[in-house]
């Protein structure tokens, strides 16, 4: 086993630090070392998108980067969406429009949709489909997700 290295980052606005092997994946670091199990692992090769987080404000796959690469970065995970016990408008929209069933892809889907709405606050349906095509969902047929993201785009604060 290689020597442990220290990783310091800011997650959901909180300074966090951990020690891990240099080869440790960021998603494993989040889940195992920081206890943030909301971010899920679906493929470990960067396709399914379940592990998507925001890294310095941009959507990133936490399964194909190392924890050490995120040293010093600002991260947002699904746990950071709801504030003061209130769901984020995107989360509300997913609930209202049945944008989730098993919920496994949902954290990645939410973070991807947030990234989409921040870069394109008024997307067309085609742009929503394109945007969320970065995450695979096997339950919903995407219809509920499409409806939810469309609704969130119109809701105040959907892209905050």
């Amino acid at each position: 086993m290689a020597d442990l290295v220290s990783v310091r980052l800011r997650v959901n606005g909180v300074e966090r630090e951990g020690r891990c092997e240099p080869r440790k994946l960021l998603v494993d670091f989040l889940r195992e070392d920081l206890g943030l199990t909301g971010t899920h692992v679906g493929c470990e090769h960067g396709i399914c998108g379940a592990c998507t987080i925001l890294l310095d404000g941009q959507a990133a796959r936490s399964c194909i980067m190392l924890a050490v690469q995120a040293d010093g970065a600002e991260l947002m995970t699904v746990e950071g969406l709801a504030k003061d016990g209130k769901l984020h408008p995107l989360q509300e929209a997913f609930r209202e429009h049945h944008g989730l069933q098993c919920g496994f892809c949902t954290p990645g889907m939410l973070m991807t949709a947030l990234d989409l709405l921040r870069t394109n606050p008024a997307p067309s349906d085609a742009e929503i489909r394109e945007g969320i095509s970065a995450v695979l969902c096997r339950c919903t047929g995407y219809q509920g997700i499409l409806n939810a993201v469309r609704a969130a785009a119109r809701a105040p604060g959907g892209d905050r």
């Binding site: 899920h40 379940a50 989730l100």
Partner: protein, 812 residues
């Protein structure tokens, strides 16, 4: 959510109530198998897998792996052979299927050893150091090639790759074909694909040597028959093997019923290393070695009169189950026995069903278990009949539908269709699709040289399998032996408890994977007890030591909407009967003068004192002296619901293989670009009859999801292998799962024929359009390309395959 305004007659059933599951799942607080260790001091497993499709195992070199710091043990196939038994299989062929390869590896990815270490990273390092010596053998992947006399044989004990064959005869098919004015024949190929849930398999096992109990946490959708099968393999009495399922499972679609060999393997690893062991499957492992539906070669024959009346059919199937036939296979052939004839009236049928073993990943239930195959073939034949007779595809179907007045309808194969109005549902689809307009548009498109097609597909949607169907695989003479024990049943249980303050807790024995059981149950209980869903707490989290369950329990075969909901309703009704009897005692009135209405026991007529649930609950818990003599203290009721129409297969191979039967009618319009072979879906209409719909939002979610699974199989998804048995699609780069860009717009409508067999009139809906979309897409594309003489007989219709067909057709 629309809240009812209160008062009598308001019902929660039928409303799109928002899901109680969502709050935790949207905030990252779900509890999946990989999230929270249920026991401390966990060790981690990595599985060593065969790189060969077919190879004899000559030996293992484990020194280097064992020497790696952090490794606590390496278990090989030799240990598996010494410490466990092979799993029972559903056929009489002597197939020895262990939880890991013991003598030979028979598909790429088959487990050959397990490393247990302090962390998953170390376990994977050590797995790379495990040396397995192989003697590679020739492989075979095609089911027809596998049955040739010179094909490599996978199982020497069987002596052939044919795991099973049954010829089933219903009515007089020979006469039907003699009397026919039209006989049509066709060969079809259905692809090997699976629903690949985004959460992979996960198992945690702790074998306690002192108390002799093995506890397994896993995202299993059972327990059903796999619990006793696994107990036997591990040499444990069933009451020493505990299966626990976490609150959340990340999708399954049938695929997670096949986790049980891994449960056995990880349990064995725990037993032999003496530590608690956790294993989480990775995606490559999942695509190589979890489970898929079968690939099938089908030969179909149809006998009809010139007026379009179907007289009979012949099915000849070769279902490819991969390296071993694994229970519940050969359900791939027999799962739809009762609905082999689909929605049609014909009475004469011959089925020749062969199950073939080749060097591919094993198979099992995948959403729509065997029905996608069945209807792809049958609906393809119905279109050929229409084309041959110059009839419209809708019209030829109408002429053969079981009429609305015929229910309950006994099919020639033993199915009992409980309710339905198939012509009405088809009419609704025709109207919704504006079918006549589509045909006019097609005529205009064809005149302009464009390839525009309209497809139709119908299906009887079976839910809640009767486990008795599995015995259809066995010869009737075998089943007639005195030592043979018949099987039947479809059972689920539920408990409803009222706490001393009148709040309600419902406890289920189900293993939901996204279907929203907690929400549905809260709706049902709220209706029954006159409360609101928010006040009902629902617990699923299956635990075989604490839940009431039976051999057919589990969340598979679209069971919950039918049998699970029935158990909940009956438990609540049992509880209400007790409340009435208790209140009658307190009021000193005859029980039949009272009734439970709007959350309280009240006089049936006129005004008078009433007792609320809260009042009665407080008394029943706090003051048992107030109960009438002989009444159980407290307030709880457990109901176990089973269908009495679930009977064992009879001597003529007739079996009611499901318990409730819905209906699906679909119409799809497509346009094919002859240059790129791209298929554009222009309209897609699906009409469902699933009886009473409890939550329309959840029901439609199931239809959207099912349809996209069907579309995956029709256009994108296939586990591909080369001739040597190497899997070519072991990542999501190569195995194409549809994204949001591929999802079509779907128009959904319902027809409601309540089931007379369930207390709420509901039927299952979970598999839904997964079983019709392969057929409707194939029929629409065939219709589009009819001017070129192209008929789709193989799926998936990939652009490269279709392009080659179009090029060839244009040259000739």
């Amino acid at each position: 959510m629309t809240a009812p305004s209160g008062g009598a007659g308001q019902r929660w059933i039928g409303r799109s109530v928002r899901r109680v599951e969502d709050a935790r799942l949207l905030t990252g607080r779900g509890t999946y198998i990989d999230d929270h260790p249920p026991v401390g001091n966990l060790f981690h497993a990595a599985i060593v897998r065969s790189p060969h499709a077919h190879a004899r195992i000559l030996g293992y070199d484990l020194e280097a792996a064992r020497a790696l710091p952090g490794v606590v043990g390496v278990i090989t196939g030799a240990d598996v052979a010494r410490h466990s038994k092979p799993f029972s299989v559903g056929v009489t062929a002597p197939v020895h299927y262990y939880c890991a390869a013991t003598d030979k590896a028979r598909f790429v990815g088959e487990p050959v050893a397990v490393v247990v270490a302090r962390s998953r990273y170390v376990a994977e390092d050590a797995a790379e150091l495990v040396q397995v010596r192989y003697e590679p053998l020739p492989a075979v992947v095609d089911p027809e090639r596998a049955l040739e006399p010179d094909a490599p044989v996978l199982h020497e004990t069987v002596g052939t790759n044919l795991a099973n064959n049954r010829r089933l005869v219903y009515g007089d098919p020979d006469r039907a074909f003699r009397d026919a004015e039209v006989v049509l024949k066709e060969r079809f190929r259905f692809p090997k694909y699976g629903s690949t849930p985004i959460e992979t398999y996960g198992v945690i096992a702790r074998w306690d040597a002192l108390d002799g109990v093995c506890t397994v946490w896993s995202n299993f959708m059972g327990p059903f028959i796999m619990h006793p099968l696994t107990a036997r393999v591990l040499g444990l009495p069933e009451n020493r093997l505990r299966f626990i399922v976490p609150p959340d499972i990340g999708g399954s679609f049938g695929i997670k019923s096949l986790i049980y060999p891994y449960i056995a393997l990880v349990a064995l690893a725990s037993k032999l290393t003496g530590v608690a062991v956790k294993w989480i499957e990775d995606r490559r492992e999942h695509l190589l070695a979890s489970s898929t539906g079968t690939d099938r070669v089908a030969y179909r024959e149809l006998a009809a009169r010139k007026d379009g009346t179907v007289l009979g059919m012949r099915f000849k199937w070769l279902d490819n189950v991969g390296g071993y036939i694994r229970s519940p296979e050969p359900g791939c052939s027999f799962r739809p026995t009762g609905n082999f004839v689909g929605p049609y009236r014909f009475q004469h049928l011959e089925v020749d069903a062969s199950t073939v073993m080749t060097n591919k990943c094993l198979t099992g239930p995948n959403r729509g278990y065997a029905c996608g195959h069945l209807y792809f073939e049958t609906e393809g034949m119905m279109d050929r009949l229409a084309a041959t007779l110059g009839l419209d595809p809708v019209e030829v179907r109408r002429r053969n539908l079981i009429p609305a007045g015929a229910f309950p309808y006994r099919t020639p194969t033993g199915g009992l269709y409980d309710s339905g109005d198939y012509p009405a549902a088809l009419d609704k689809a025709v109207q919704l699709a504006r079918y006549d307009e589509l045909r006019r548009e097609q005529a205009r498109a064809r005149a302009a040289g464009r390839y525009f097609g309209v497809g139709v597909a119908l299906a009887v949607d079976p839910s809640v399998s009767n486990m008795g169907y599995v015995a259809t695989a066995l010869d009737p003479q075998f089943r007639a032996k005195p030592e043979y024990l018949p099987k039947s049943g479809a059972v689920d249980s539920a408990t409803v408890k009222v706490d001393p303050l009148g709040r309600v807790l419902a406890i289920l024995a189900t293993t939901p994977q996204g279907q929203g059981h907690q929400t549905i149950v809260a709706q049902i209980v709220a209706d029954e007890l006159g409360s609101v869903p928010e006040d009902v707490t629902v617990v699923d989290e299956m635990d075989t030591f604490t839940r009431v369950w039976s051999i057919s329990s589990g969340t598979y075969s679209s069971r919950f909407g039918s049998v699970g909901t029935s158990a909940v309703a009956l438990a609540a009704r049992k509880l209400k009967a007790k409340l009435v009897a208790y209140a009658a005692h307190l009021m000193d009135l005859p029980p039949d003068s009272l009734e439970f209405r709007d959350g309280a026991v009240r006089p049936k007529r006129g005004k008078g004192p009433s007792y609320s649930v809260k009042d009665l609950a407080g008394r029943a818990h706090w003051n048992t002296e107030s109960l009438p003599a002989g009444m159980e203290p407290g307030l709880q009721a457990t109901a176990v619901f089973g269908f009495d129409v679930a009977r064992a297969v009879d001597a003529e191979d007739r079996v009611n293989s499901s318990n409730t039967y819905g209906f699906i009618a679909e119409i799809m319009a497509v346009e094919v670009d002859p240059e790129t072979a791209a298929i554009r879906i222009l309209r897609y209409v699906t009409v469902h009859d699933a009886g009473t719909i409890i939550n329309p939002m959840i029901a439609e979610g199931q239809i959207y999801g099912g349809a996209l699974h069907g579309l995956g199989g029709a256009l994108y998804e296939e586990l591909q292998y080369d001739e040597d048995g190497q899997c070519l699609t072991a990542t999501f780069m190569d195995y194409l799962v549809p994204t949001a860009c591929e999802a079509p717009t779907i128009e959904i409508a319902h027809v409601v024929s309540p089931s007379p067999l369930t207390p709420l009139g509901s039927k299952g809906l979970g598999e839904s359009s997964s079983m019709t979309v392969p057929a409707v897409v194939a029929n629409a594309v065939s219709d589009a390309l009819a001017p070129l003489g192209i008929r789709i007989t193989e799926l998936p219709i990939t652009p490269s395959k279709l392009h080659a067909m179009i090029q060839k057709a244009r040259k000739t």
